[in-house]
């Protein structure tokens, strides 16, 4: 099979828009904007998340901004509501993001419930999702790995459901593969693992399970060499996706010889 011709036929489609890359990256925790840009490019990311925060009144307003490093013409910016602990703040943040980015409708909804675990507050998440969808936003929603809730978020009209694989920033890897499988098998919108990846094999596992993409930040930004890790993650996502599409062999308890049994000497 010719990989060059098959690659473009396997796009990630979110809210009707096609993306060639299934690796979405965050832009937090980098040393500077140069590193943020270099890692985003090495990851091959097309969608990058950004945070919406108050400007620091009194600091130099002409200092370079993140948007200078990652211009909206080159990347799809995905404003997130990280740091919001209730639906009202999350909705306000999305409206500010829409104004900031000239009517941009794609947002990442994240309503946190607890500072220690950063687990989502699913009640507030549902409330915010309903309000945002009704207001015309295209909502990619960070959620727990509960299959029932994932379905509910899809039914509300979210354009992608993004369950965690382990707590945000923990690097624990895919801790819930059967929940993820259940979510994936029931979904009609893209399922994107949004938290918990630690290294490349974790990303590959998520993709082999059938996830449509992976969103990560700390695993890349916190690596000793973030740009090299971004490259590794890109390869892992591609490998995992190809393996999923190729269809793995079933697991068997006993051996199955690779060489023909007939025609051996002796």
């Amino acid at each position: 099979m010719n990989l060059k011709t098959t690659a473009p036929t396997d796009p990630l489609i979110i809210a009707g828009k096609s993306y060639g890359s299934r690796l979405l990256t965050g832009t937090g925790k980098y040393r500077d904007f140069d590193e943020t840009r270099a890692a985003s490019l090495a990851a091959g990311a097309e969608i990058v998340t950004v945070a919406i925060r108050r400007v620091n009144i009194g600091q130099d307003p002409s200092a370079p901004s993140l948007i200078d490093a990652l211009p909206p013409g080159e990347f799809t910016l995905l404003p997130n509501t990280a740091g919001c602990y209730n639906a009202a703040d999350a909705v306000r943040t999305c409206k500010l993001a829409r104004e900031l980015l000239d009517g941009h409708r794609l947002v990442k909804l994240e309503v946190l419930g607890d500072q220690k675990t950063l687990f989502p507050d699913v009640v507030e998440t549902l409330k915010a999702a309903e309000e945002l969808v009704a207001d015309g936003f295209e909502v990619m929603v960070y959620t727990s790995d509960d299959p029932i809730l994932a379905k509910r978020l899809e039914q509300i009209g979210c354009v992608a459901v993004m369950p965690l694989a382990a707590p945000i920033g923990s690097g624990l890897g895919i801790q819930n593969r059967y929940n993820l499988l259940e979510i994936i098998e029931n979904a009609k919108v893209p399922i994107i693992v949004d938290a918990g990846v630690g290294t490349a094999s974790d990303a590959a596992i998520a993709m082999e399970l059938g996830c449509d993409g992976v969103l990560m930040n700390t695993a890349i930004a916190g690596a000793r060499d973030p740009v090299l890790m971004a490259h590794a993650m890109k390869l892992a996502i591609q490998a995992g996706r190809a393996a999923f599409r190729a269809g793995r062999i079933p697991r068997k308890r006993y051996a199955s010889a690779s060489s023909p049994i007939d025609g051996t000497i002796g």
Partner: protein
């Protein structure tokens, strides 16, 4: 020990007995008001527009979004939207985040 507070108290009384400093009648000039900008009190002239405040803060022409009392102020209204005493204003931008 006891002398110090008495002396301090006398100085205090003396200061209070002085006539208050002569002030210009603020209402006849620029009336000052206070808004809450990004959670911090900030004095500004009355009838300051959002655009003027952005300019004063150094954000004219920068990519920011403005919310006034929890309602978005679209860029097209920055010039016409005037601030009032006690208004709560948020100016935000995009930064790195996951």
């Amino acid at each position: 020990m006891a002398v110090v507070p008495v002396a301090a108290g006398m100085r205090h009384r003396a200061r209070l007995s002085r006539p208050p400093p002569v002030k210009r009648d603020a209402s006849r000039y620029n009336v000052r008001m206070q808004i809450i900008l990004n959670g911090q009190p900030r004095d500004c002239d009355s009838a300051t527009s959002v655009a003027r405040l952005l300019e004063q803060a150094g954000y004219a022409g920068r990519r920011v979004a403005v919310e006034l009392n929890q309602e978005i102020v679209p860029r097209s209204r920055h010039d016409s939207q005037l601030l009032a005493d006690g208004d709560r204003l948020e100016i935000v931008h995009a930064i790195g985040g996951g």
